[in-house]
């Protein structure tokens, strides 16, 4: 799928711009562009639920990031063990990408998934639950424990934010 590969190259360019720019506002905008590209990629991969969710979550993530970075720039300096750090990082990332080539040959090729468990959900999902959106019937009927775990994680994250930003503290 040629358009999908162009889209992922666009996302990679957006990510590289986001982490290399010295201006904070430009890097936040670049992350936003990368997220919108991901939402388009979900549409090409025939997943409309995920495209809607990724779009609105991306907007909210931009609002929260802008709140933290407005009017706070940081000067750039390269002190310390800079050369050793850079070479070790590049060697590690090069080994990671080289070894991933051998792993990716073992996966089923792009376009033919092994659907051993999903055959049951596709054939019997509409008869057993009478819901026409199969993804919703999976997350709320067949696999509802995962949704319970997700609700717990969201609750914990909200409580965590409330605990971190309250006013009690000593200077």
């Amino acid at each position: 799928m040629l358009e999908l590969e162009f889209l992922i190259i666009f996302m990679i360019l957006g990510a590289i711009i986001a982490i290399e720019t010295k201006d904070m506002l430009s890097s936040v905008v670049a992350v936003g562009i990368s997220g919108l590209g991901l939402s388009l990629a979900f549409l090409f991969l025939k997943a409309p639920d995920l495209a809607i969710t990724q779009l609105v979550v991306e907007i909210l993530c931009l609002i929260i990031l802008i709140r933290a970075t407005l009017r706070r720039d940081l000067p750039f300096s390269t002190s310390g063990r800079w050369y050793f750090n850079t070479t070790v990082t590049f060697v590690f990332l090069g080994a990671f990408l080289f070894l991933s080539y051998f792993i990716l040959k073992e996966l089923p090729s792009f376009g033919q998934p092994l659907m051993r468990v999903s055959e049951f959900y596709l054939n019997q999902g509409k008869n057993l639950t009478k819901a026409t959106n199969l993804v919703t019937s999976i997350i709320l009927n067949f696999r509802a424990y995962d949704t319970l775990g997700e609700a717990t994680v969201l609750f914990t994250a909200v409580i965590g934010v409330l605990a971190v930003v309250r006013k009690i503290g000593r200077k």
């Binding site: 609750f155 909200v158 000593r170």
Partner: protein, 192 residues
């Protein structure tokens, strides 16, 4: 007036600016004209955006809320569901808060109501799940007649779960935004 005194935990809940801080803020705003010039940036920021933005917000925020509720309720027929609809409802409240300023909106929605609704959503989700204990299962789908496939009232428990998740996600994300914003107002006043 160093910022090292401790404030009680109750202040941030009932009164977003705190009783003592509000009095000190008013005293400082009435003091000198130089301080008035310094404070105008925060004052105009907290009073919201320009008139065009406020007028458009009044027209469209109700439609955004309605669209979010539509996506939550039709989660079993069309793409969407509880999570996407919950985030859209939270975005409509955040839109209101960005356009009209912090104090105007926080006078109407206090922090107690937002956290109450979040707890209500989580409890509702768990409550519907535990009701299956009456028959010996957890997460039992207790509608025997599930209706025809493309109707609104069909698919058993799924619309009820979608509503609970919608309430929980929307109030949780709005609470995160309110508390991240509230910290800034008090911090800038402490630095002077």
């Amino acid at each position: 007036m160093a910022g090292s005194k401790e404030v009680e935990w109750g202040d941030i809940w009932h009164n977003p600016l705190g009783g003592k801080e509000r009095k000190m803020l008013e005293q400082k705003n009435n003091n000198t004209s130089e301080q008035k010039n310094k404070n105008t940036l925060e004052q105009t920021e907290s009073k919201g955006m320009s008139l065009i933005v406020k007028t458009i917000t009044r027209l469209t925020v109700g439609l955004i809320l309605l669209y979010g509720i539509y996506i939550v309720l039709h989660g079993h027929i069309s793409p969407g569901g509880g999570f996407a609809g919950g985030v859209i409802i939270a975005l409509s409240f955040i839109h209101l808060m960005l356009a009209f300023g912090k104090e105007e909106v926080l006078k109407r929605f206090s922090s107690e109501y937002i956290t109450f609704f979040e707890g209500l959503g989580a409890t509702l989700f768990l409550g519907i799940a535990i009701l299956g204990f009456l028959a010996g299962y957890f997460f039992l789908d207790f509608f025997v007649d599930k209706g025809a496939p493309f109707n609104l009232f069909s698919a058993g428990n799924i619309p009820l779960y979608n509503i609970a998740i919608g309430i929980k996600v929307s109030s949780g994300l709005f609470a995160i935004f309110v508390f991240l914003v509230l910290l800034r107002v008090i911090k800038d006043k402490d630095k002077q």
